[in-house]
């Protein structure tokens, strides 16, 4: 078989195929429910109700979407430059770590502490990604493997700190950090509702990334580098420097997920702060076709699947891992569907 580009794809093709991909994912969900001996339609209904069926469910989904918006943005910025940052998990933890250290060790008043915590987190995340990117631009070391391996190194480093220097003396022996003081936490958006300003910051970040990508020279350079690094270099774009800037932004965004989870939701640092937000960010970014505003929508969708599956699992007994399978299938179906909007499969 052979792929021929389609000059002018019809709207039916451009919209229909991605819809078909989502439909196929729903079919997979029903199949998985059947395997588990549950009623497929009831399972779908339970997932939907668990994700958005009540005020509580909806707030839970928004909370879960918050770190995913940050990691999704981090991945989308990097992937656009064809910088394969698979280390958002490590950058998230670096951000969370610095947030806790500044918040608990310096004793600053809240209005001063919060911005410093955010800034420190961004710097830490940026630095964690800077290493692999310099190795890539200077020595040609593939960043996929280095960023992946850094996730494991960072997890062990955090585990060491939580059992050693950062361990909460009042934590009854649990490996967790001391809690942030009340005034060094992100306030709720509406008093009484469990949704913090981390969500607001995530929306603002999405807007800022969109402006950066569409209205600035850097955004143009990132796009050019991602489309064809050789051509970009030929056109006088300093590809190496663009990649470094991309890395700083990407790492910083991922770190904000850690900042927001610690300062907005958990209040302290534990080794299980992130159930893989860094990896799920890849799905979020790809489903959004790397568009920063799309990331918000896809993060809400992905968070809904997770929250809904959790709640469905308690009621119907289908394992929660159904959510991870669905997101992986959605990712694979979607990249295929997007390709087929642009090319036609020809025999021979």
């Amino acid at each position: 078989m052979r792929l021929d580009p389609i000059a002018a794809p019809s709207p039916a093709r451009t919209l229909g195929l991605p819809a078909l991909a989502l439909g196929a994912t729903v079919l997979v969900a029903m199949g998985l429910a059947l395997i588990a001996g549950a009623d497929p339609l009831a399972t779908l209904g339970l997932i939907a109700r668990g994700a958005a069926g009540s005020k509580f469910a909806l707030l839970e989904t928004l909370n879960r979407a918050t770190p995913l918006i940050f990691t999704g943005l981090a991945i989308s910025v990097a992937f656009r430059a064809r910088l394969w940052n698979i280390g958002a998990e490590a950058q998230l933890y670096a951000g969370a770590l610095v947030t806790v250290v500044i918040g608990t060790q310096l004793g600053l008043p809240g209005p001063l502490a919060l911005p410093l915590m955010a800034l420190g987190a961004v710097l830490a995340g940026a630095l964690v990604l800077l290493g692999p990117v310099l190795l890539k631009t200077r020595l040609g070391v593939d960043e996929v493997v280095t960023t992946l391996l850094l996730n494991f190194i960072m997890a062990l480093f955090i585990s060491y700190l939580l059992e050693g220097p950062l361990k909460d003396p009042m934590g009854m022996g649990w490996p967790k950090s001391p809690a942030l003081p009340r005034d060094a936490r992100l306030p709720r958006i509406v008093e009484g509702l469990r949704l913090h300003w981390g969500f607001g910051l995530a929306l603002l970040s999405a807007l800022a990334v969109w402006v950066m990508q569409t209205r600035t020279t850097l955004g143009y350079e990132i796009r050019a580098t991602g489309l064809n690094a050789e051509a970009a270099r030929f056109a006088g774009i300093p590809v190496g420097r663009v990649l470094v800037k991309t890395a700083l932004i990407s790492g910083g965004l991922a770190a904000l997920a850690g900042f927001s989870e610690v300062a907005g939701l958990k209040g302290n640092l534990t080794a299980d702060l992130s159930p893989g937000f860094g990896y799920t960010g890849i799905v979020v970014a790809m489903l959004a076709l790397l568009h920063p505003l799309g990331v918000v929508v896809s993060a809400l969708f992905v968070a809904g699947v997770f929250v809904g599956a959790d709640s469905m699992s308690r009621a119907a007994g289908v394992p929660t891992y159904i959510a991870d399978i669905l997101l992986a299938t959605a990712l694979l179906f979607m990249v295929l569907a997007i390709l087929l909007t642009k090319v036609r499969v020809v025999r021979g």
Binding site: M1, R2, L3, L32, I35, A36, W84, I86, L135, L139, G140, V141, D142, V144, V145, T146, L148, L149, L150, N151, F152, I153, L156, F157, S159, Y160, E163, G164, Y279, I282, V283, M286, G317, P319, Y321, I322, D324, I325, L327, A328, T329, L331, L332, V335, L336, L339
Partner: protein, 315 residues
Amino acid sequence: MTEIIDILISASFWAAVLRIASPLIFATLGELICERAGVLNLGIEGIMVFGAFAGWMAVYAGLGLWPGVLVALLAGMAFGALHALLTVPFGLSQHVVGLGITMLATSSAYYAYRLALPEVTSPPRIDPFQPLHIPGLSDIPWLGQALFSQTALTWAAFGCAALVALVLYRTPLGLAVRAAGENPQAVEAQGLSVAAIRMGAVIVGSGLMAVGGAFLTMSAFSSFFFEMVNGRGWICIALVVFGAWKPGKALLGALLFAGFDALQIRLQQTPMGQLVPYQVFLMIPYVLSILALILMSRRAEVPAALMTPFNRGER
């Protein structure tokens, strides 16, 4: 220093090196085959998880050990076929598809495990492969225990390395695989199908990755637990680079790596090791992998068409 020497002269250390190297050898060879044909397979981590689960589950459900290995192999090949279909004829991003396959395979294994065993607190065990007694060799003092008291699956790993080297360098099929990764146009000019060669390589390679995973549950340990693969797949990708895409060197890399791993486990137990946080020891494999990548970066012998999709008729 004396602690290190004590460790190095103990037979159990060398036996551990061979044992730790075995899953890495299988999976590194699998990745090497894919990459020699021009396809980066980031599905490796998830395929290892699924292989570990599938092989173990098959034995737990009543199959024999070798049929269990076969189940793992076939499951790996199935995920490989999906990877191959999306990356070869459709030419989709090998990064995205590979990570997607890792997520799909990992979560499928966890889902199936939870379905099969909803209520277990401690993972059930199977009777794993036992060390083979080789008459004569296994009875040699020290050497017998150090080198010749391994399970059949370890011997299979070494056999596999020899077989892959033989096929890759001494057969027309191997030539075609290498050419598909270096110069696909030339392969098409010979009247061969680049797509068929690459898909075949990815499917076979993925099968080997799954067997590497199965080694963990069927030979090294006797139960399946979450996160047991723990980045070994990513380490194998680094080992392929370290081995300069050559089976022999990759085998040596896996042994060297396993040596450091076996050493760090034993150093943790020494009085000196007690002074250092255990996390530092556990970091060593990952740090070493990054160092290996840096070390080899100057001597890149990467297949020229790695990660370049081939669309027939396009120039």
